[in-house]
């Protein structure tokens, strides 16, 4: 299987406490150097809590943020200058909040035409034909084209956002929490539409979410992000059923589930570490029941564990009996 996306040593740090001259007071590492492959035609889920760097990662992948180190290879080609206009033809982005991602003062037609005109230089007739095609694919009526974004419900606006991403004819879509602003009954409509579009256009998805159940339902593989690093990657079927990294296990236990009694699944006082004074060693050791002295001193790296699993932990939970 070929790789749609290959990230090598990609990282991003932000300066804090900027001074007029001289270096900033400190650097916050939003994304630690990470390697990740996304295979053509798959849906890779990325889960993590707020502040784990998943949005920063997504913004780097489409060129909205220049990476601090590392490189991004899209469909075999390295793109190292952060220019969304060049990225845009290959990789597109669907935003979390459909209402703030559509300019309130433009009609849907004006919004839809921009990628067709700027990225593909289509003439008026070709643009109209293409918009018609895309709108049919996302089940939107063409009469919507001359309306303004505020006239649409969240679900419809999100379809418009997806339609715009499709208009660029990119084969990879970054879906950044595409359904978390929607009601559950509408959420399923949009998720199913995304699944249909993937088959119809042969797309590759990077699906970012904090909702484990949603990610599990749509993904082939899932990467768990904690404090800017990938702590575990595995198949969607396996990773929450048999978590190996203690953090993945914590996530899986925390997801509210009917019938399971409430119990604080960890020492209730701990939360994410402070990014300004990151812990030495494994970022999770303060919350981990299995932490040893090694975890407090040395940072574990992501290593393959079997064919379809990789994790960054010195004391992983016992997996299923290996075959």
């Amino acid at each position: 299987m070929s790789e749609a996306l290959r990230l090598t040593g990609l990282s991003k740090s932000f300066p804090v406490g900027k001074r007029l001259f001289g270096p900033p007071r400190a650097m916050v590492h939003a994304v630690h150097p990470l390697d990740l492959d996304v295979r053509t035609g798959e849906t890779l889920g990325i889960v993590g809590e707020s502040g784990c760097g998943k949005s920063t990662l997504a913004k780097m992948l489409v060129g909205l943020l220049p990476p601090s180190t590392g490189q991004i290879e899209i469909e075999g080609e390295t793109l190292d200058n952060a220019d969304p206009a060049i990225f845009g033809k290959r990789i597109q982005y669907v935003f979390q909040d459909p209402n703030s991602s559509l300019n309130p003062r433009k009609t849907i037609r004006q919004i839809m035409e921009v990628p067709l005109r700027k990225l593909h230089g289509l003439d008026r007739a070709a643009r109209a034909a293409r918009i018609q095609e895309i709108f049919a694919a996302v089940n939107l009526r063409e009469e919507f084209l001359d309306r303004y974004p505020h006239e649409f419900s969240g679900g419809q606006a999100q379809r418009i956002g997806i339609a715009r991403a499709l208009a660029a004819q990119a084969r990879i879509l970054i879906l950044d929490e595409p359904v978390s602003a929607l009601d559950v009954s509408v959420q399923a409509q949009v998720l199913n539409l995304l699944a249909d579009l993937k088959t119809e256009f042969g797309l590759t998805y990077l699906f970012i979410s904090h909702d484990l159940a949603v990610v599990e339902a749509v993904s082939d593989r899932i990467a768990v992000l904690y404090f800017g690093s990938i702590v575990e990657v595995g198949s969607a079927r396996e990773i929450f059923a048999n978590p190996r990294h203690p953090y993945t296990a914590l996530l899986a236990q925390s997801a509210p589930e009917v019938g399971r009694p409430i119990a604080a699944p960890e020492n209730a006082e701990t939360e994410l570490p402070d990014p300004l004074s990151p812990p030495v060693g494994c970022a999770f050791h303060e919350r981990c029941a299995f932490a040893t002295d090694r975890c407090r001193a040395e940072k574990p790296v992501l290593t393959a564990d079997g064919a379809d699993r990789a994790l960054a932990c010195f004391n992983p939970l016992p997996g299923p009996v290996s075959r």
């Binding site: 433009k106 009954s185 409509q189 159940a213 599990e216 339902a217 082939d220 969607a236 509210p256 409430i262």
Partner: protein, 627 residues
């Protein structure tokens, strides 16, 4: 555009301003066509003619020139100068503001510090300096007034642009291949334009005054050309002997500036979206009650009994029936879940209990809320106030919005305690620390001194819960308290709530859209759809064998962990809008079992099994669900 004029016309003063300015502008425009004397011809023998003298309606000035003619030509010039200065200042200032705000960083810093330096000078001094450098004259006065007002626009527009430049649609435009220049013109500018117009409408009057001021000092229009300022300046020496020569231009300046300012205020009110949505109308301390019938009696003798509660929002000529007849009760120590999608009326129900729905536009139009036997709907404000927080407390979704950002967490807790109880500050302080400990905040003593922004979302929500517990309430109404939190933090908060309830015998009404949370925390659950309860019963039974098709299909929509990759069941269509509710069952349009009877008339919430009720003519047959 018509809507804009209607909004403007609602403001009587603005309308008056518009009329006055309209007349002045029309007169100024047609001045060259009017049969007026030449404004610049001197006629010294006839100097200082009084008003209403033959041939000179408003009299003549110190050189015998016709004052009416000079006034008309002067007004024409002053208006043109004012508008021109406003346009120049708006264009330059907005361009600077947009560039600074859009590019940010160092560009922003350099530009805005330059603007700050301009603002550091008193404006008249700066204008004088510019005229002094360029020499007196109309054009130079215009340049000076425009330059003095550039910083005002630059600062205003920069602030707005910063907000817009970080919106997602700007990122989306970048990804669609637009360059910065195109984004500024096509994406940012249309969103900033209303603000520019507002800023202009409120400053034009000011700029007319400033140009008149410069002319008054002899730095603007040069003799014999008349503008309002120079007319005043020339009349100054005859102020006592012939006051009419000063009064005529002075009155005109007054009329113009008053008119423009009234109109400007009206334009701002009509264009500013925050004012349009009613941000200026201060909500009353308790929701207005306008019951159309007698208060229904309590149906149960529970701690809190809501009977046939109806709450609507009256916005102009529309009525949104947010809550359309809700019956609920909660016992001591019980946890009742209310589940529903956005717009289902679950939050409005909760807020109506203590009269916390913002009025206007909210109105409670019917029903009763009996707490401990007393009806709270229509109770006096003092009664509600003494119960709020003391017996019935709320926890809201966003603790960042409910905690005051400028006070320490500890002080806010102490205030909450001392509002209802006459205890010393020290005693309240000790109690606050024990409250923080009870919600498991580490280092409670030092956290008392923290400001809300220094805490994480989970910690803030704990403080929110501690505050709700401050006066040992009987009922806590929690409105989506964990929705904004991460799953691991959510699990912690839920466990805190669950323990507190057991330890203190609290009754909790827990509002959420998450079946998993309800399933873990609540004893009973009520499902709301379009302002009504469609199903109610013990949580386990409802989740295992839902009887209303909506409940059943909603549960199917929600993925649960452990199901693997799969296609989800979706409910087609959208929930109805509550100002146009369909006749009969509100879910009928989305329901695959709907019959003609479903749309015929309202359907009662009927008991099916012990402790279970459903509002459906064709309830789901009790099938055991696998999940």
């Amino acid at each position: 555009m018509m809507a804009f004029f209607r909004l403007l016309a609602r403001n009587r003063l603005a309308l008056a301003g518009l009329v006055v300015i309209g007349i002045v502008v029309v007169l100024a425009l047609i001045t060259p066509l009017l049969p007026l004397a030449d404004p610049d011809v001197t006629d010294t023998p006839n100097r200082f003619q009084p008003m209403f003298s033959a041939g000179a309606l408003l009299g003549t000035d110190h050189l015998g020139r016709d004052l009416l003619s000079r006034l008309m030509w002067g007004t024409r010039l002053s208006l043109a100068m004012g508008f021109a200065a406003a346009v120049i200042a708006a264009v330059l200032g907005s361009a600077i503001g947009i560039i600074a705000g859009f590019y940010g960083g160092r560009t922003d810093n350099v530009i805005m510090r330059g603007v700050d330096m301009l603002m550091a000078f008193p404006y008249i001094l700066l204008a004088l300096a510019i005229v002094a450098a360029l020499g007196p004259g109309l054009m130079n006065a215009l340049i000076a007034v425009a330059a003095v007002n550039v910083p005002f626009f630059a600062r205003n527009i920069r602030g707005i642009t910063v907000g817009i430049a970080h919106k997602e649609f700007v990122d989306a435009a970048r990804l669609a291949g637009m360059r910065n220049r195109e984004i500024i013109l096509a994406e940012v500018l249309p969103n900033v334009l209303p603000v520019i117009v507002i800023a202009m409408s409120t400053t034009v009057g000011w700029m007319i005054l400033e140009t008149a001021g410069l002319s008054f000092l002899g730095l603007g229009s040069q003799p014999p050309q008349a503008d309002l300022g120079s007319m005043l300046g020339e009349a100054r020496s005859a102020l006592i002997t012939n006051p009419h020569t000063s009064i005529v231009p002075g009155a005109m300046i007054l009329v113009i500036v008053m008119g423009i300012n009234l109109l400007g205020d009206g334009v701002r009110d009509a264009l500013d979206p925050r004012l349009k949505s009613g941000a200026l109308s201060r909500p009353m301390p308790a929701t207005t009650v306008d019951r159309d019938g007698p208060a229904p009696a309590a149906r149960t003798d529970s701690l809190l009994d809501i009977a046939d509660l109806r709450t609507e929002f009256r916005v102009r000529n529309r009525v949104y029936k947010a809550v359309g007849g809700v019956d609920l009760h909660v016992e001591k120590g019980e946890c009742l879940g209310i589940i529903g999608e956005s717009g289902s009326g679950k939050s409005v129900t909760a807020l109506s209990v203590m009269g916390l729905v913002a009025s206007p536009p909210g109105v409670i139009t019917g029903g009763a809320v009996h707490f401990d036997g007393q009806d709270l709907v229509g109770a006096r404000y003092e009664v509600l106030r003494s119960l709020r927080g003391r017996r019935v407390a709320y926890i809201f979704q966003d603790p960042q919005a409910t905690l005051h950002p400028l006070y320490k967490a500890g002080d806010q807790l102490i205030e909450a305690i001392r509002t209802h109880e006459d205890v010393s500050r020290e005693a309240a302080h000790r109690r606050a620390i024990s409250l923080l400990k009870s919600v498991r905040i580490p280092n409670a003593e030092s956290r008392m001194e923290s400001y809300p922004y220094e805490m994480s979302g989970g910690m803030r929500q704990r403080v929110g819960i501690a505050m709700a517990l401050a006066n040992d309430p009987d009922v806590i109404i929690a409105d989506e308290p964990t929705t904004a939190l991460d799953v691991t933090v959510q699990a912690q908060i839920l466990s805190v709530l669950s323990d507190l309830r057991r330890e203190r015998g609290l009754a909790i009404i827990f509002i959420t859209h998450d079946f998993g949370v309800v399933g873990q925390l609540c004893d009973r659950v009520a499902v709301m759809y379009a302002g009504r309860i469609v199903e109610e019963g013990p949580t386990a039974a409802v989740l295992r064998s839902p009887q209303h098709p909506y409940t059943s299909r909603l549960i199917d929509c929600v993925p649960t962990l452990g199901g693997g990759q799969r296609r989800l069941a979706a409910i087609p269509g959208l929930p109805p809008v509550v100002d146009r509710l369909p006749h009969g069952c509100a879910f009928a349009d989305r329901c695959d079992k709907a019959q003609a009877e479903c749309r015929a008339g309202s359907i009662a919430l009927a008991p099916t099994e012990p402790a279970r009720k459903v509002r459906c003519l064709f309830p789901e047959v009790a099938k055991e669900r696998s999940a």
